[in-house]
């Protein structure tokens, strides 16, 4: 009983806006912290995927290496999108407002997707907080930006930036895939200039072996191998 009480007080997790707020004491042994984080994040299941984690280690300066180790640990083990330090004041406010929201209404699905229909023309820019679906064409000179995936049901000829700023799991997919430039997380790839194999081969770009690779979506079927339907 005593240990459980200690656990609760020393590694805590709560939901804030679009991620999780983890509070812990960096003076505790690393193995113990990892064990506790594993227990908490296992409970979250797929919600931990691509989530933004704020790691609050209190006012204790000099524990930067512990922070870094835990950040790497969370990214590797649970595929969280980012681990950051709390901002002053503001984040606390956000946490509170979210809590109020949760108590007053039913929990909402935090994964939001922006669906746009029409043609994105040169000079126009569409930004989505998470996933972006375009029903139409993306013309040369235009820019589509998303925190998650970008899916174009038409021709993608402009610039597409997915997984901004650091979601390396994001993909860019188009029915007619001929972008000027694509970026996923921090990586950049440009059109090699060769004509695509077939006008009706749905292609997608993703990060693989530390680089962006473009493949036929139907042939490689990247999500067909998943054992269980997951929220992206």
């Amino acid at each position: 009983m005593n240990t459980q009480f200690q656990n609760k007080s020393q590694v805590r997790l709560k939901g804030v806006k679009d991620g999780f707020w983890v509070t812990l004491d960096p003076k505790l042994p690393m193995a113990y912290l990892e064990e506790e984080l594993t227990r908490l994040f296992n409970q979250l299941q797929h919600l931990a995927l691509n989530s933004r984690v704020i790691l609050d280690i209190g006012q204790s300066d000099g524990y930067e290496d512990i922070f870094d180790n835990l950040a790497v640990f969370l990214k590797n083990k649970f595929n969280v999108a980012s681990v950051s330090v709390p901002k002053k004041e503001n984040d606390h406010m956000e946490g509170q407002s979210f809590k109020l929201n949760m108590s007053s209404s039913a929990p909402q699905n935090l994964a939001n997707t922006l669906v746009i229909s029409g043609r994105i023309r040169s000079g126009q820019q569409i930004t989505a907080r998470r996933h972006l679906i375009i029903l139409g064409d993306v013309n040369p000179g235009s820019e589509v930006i998303a925190g998650g995936d970008i899916i174009v049901m038409g021709s993608l000829s402009g610039t597409a930036l997915a997984g901004q700023p650091d979601n390396e799991n994001a993909i860019i997919m188009a029915i007619n895939f001929k972008p000027t430039q694509i970026q996923i997380a921090g990586m950049i790839a440009v059109d090699p200039g060769k004509p695509s194999s077939s006008p009706l081969s749905i292609e997608y770009a993703h990060i693989e072996h530390g680089g962006i690779s473009v493949e036929n979506y139907i042939k490689s079927n990247p999500f067909g191998r998943l054992t269980w339907p997951l929220v992206r």
Partner: protein
């Protein structure tokens, strides 16, 4: 009946806006309409030169807008076509002297006097463009079959839609020989990207240079293919939508074509 204000724009410079404005204006006037062509490129005027009227300029659009002269004083009658008038730009001012509001008011006056008011928009999307688009009822986007021109036309189309104007497209300077060889984008490629209504296709024509240099309206040259295209465009603007859009073709003879097909004589 009030006149219609049509802005002729492209984003990119040098694609043939001024030539198109002069030609469409002349063609509409030949149909019997009262037409004013307005040079909106303040500081870099050249519609007057293309129309061969540079030596008759006394007042310009800035004078007319600011009330220093009457519209009738600023409008110069064409030498050959009676119902065609030019309102020239000022060469000494810059584009900041006019504002969209002033242009809306000015065009309201012009509508009373003319059936068609064609605004020759300057290149770019800054003040000159805003001034030209603000009073317009309709817009014609000129584009050449080049990627740079298409890119700029696309941007301009987006800006026009933002002003609730649905633009129509003219593809200019088509060279059928180059399209056949695959060295130039076809008008289908252009329309596929821009996806707006096509108003006409104009073939590359050396007569344009002659006409510009001599100041004789292009549409008066009977044997010019570009002139014929512009006359058809004017008829379509007039509402004769049954007039087909002719696709520029190479002037090859039947036997040469046959030779190409069976692979000899090339």
């Amino acid at each position: 009946m009030e006149g219609k204000v049509i802005v002729i724009t492209s984003g990119k410079g040098g694609v043939g806006k001024t030539t198109a404005t002069a030609s469409i204006g002349a063609a509409l006037a030949l149909e019997g309409k009262q037409v004013a062509v307005v040079d909106m490129d303040i500081g870099l005027r050249n519609l007057d030169v293309v129309m061969g009227l540079e030596n008759r300029i006394v007042f310009n659009i800035v004078d007319a807008v600011k009330g220093k002269c009457k519209i009738k004083q600023a409008a110069i009658k064409d030498r050959r076509i009676d119902s065609l008038y030019l309102i020239p730009a000022s060469q000494s001012d810059n584009k900041e002297v006019l504002t969209p509001d002033l242009m809306v008011k000015f065009c309201k006056e012009l509508r009373k006097e003319f059936d068609y008011i064609l605004l020759d928009c300057p290149a770019g999307i800054e003040r000159g463009f805003e001034n030209s688009v603000a009073p317009a009822d309709e817009a014609i986007v000129i584009c050449t079959p080049e990627v740079s021109s298409i890119r700029d036309a696309d941007r301009v189309i987006g800006l026009l839609y933002a002003q609730s104007i649905t633009p129509k497209l003219i593809v200019n300077r088509i060279i059928p020989e180059m399209i056949e060889k695959g060295d130039m984008l076809s008008h289908e490629d252009v329309v596929e990207v821009l996806s707006i209504e096509l108003l006409g296709l104009v073939q590359m024509d050396t007569q344009v240079v002659i006409s510009t240099n001599t100041g004789i309206p292009l549409v008066l040259q009977k044997d010019s293919v570009a002139a014929q295209a512009f006359r058809r465009i004017a008829q379509r603007i007039e509402g004769h939508e049954d007039i087909s859009i002719e696709i520029p073709k190479t002037a090859k003879s039947f036997w040469k074509k046959l030779g190409l097909i069976i692979g000899i004589g090339n």
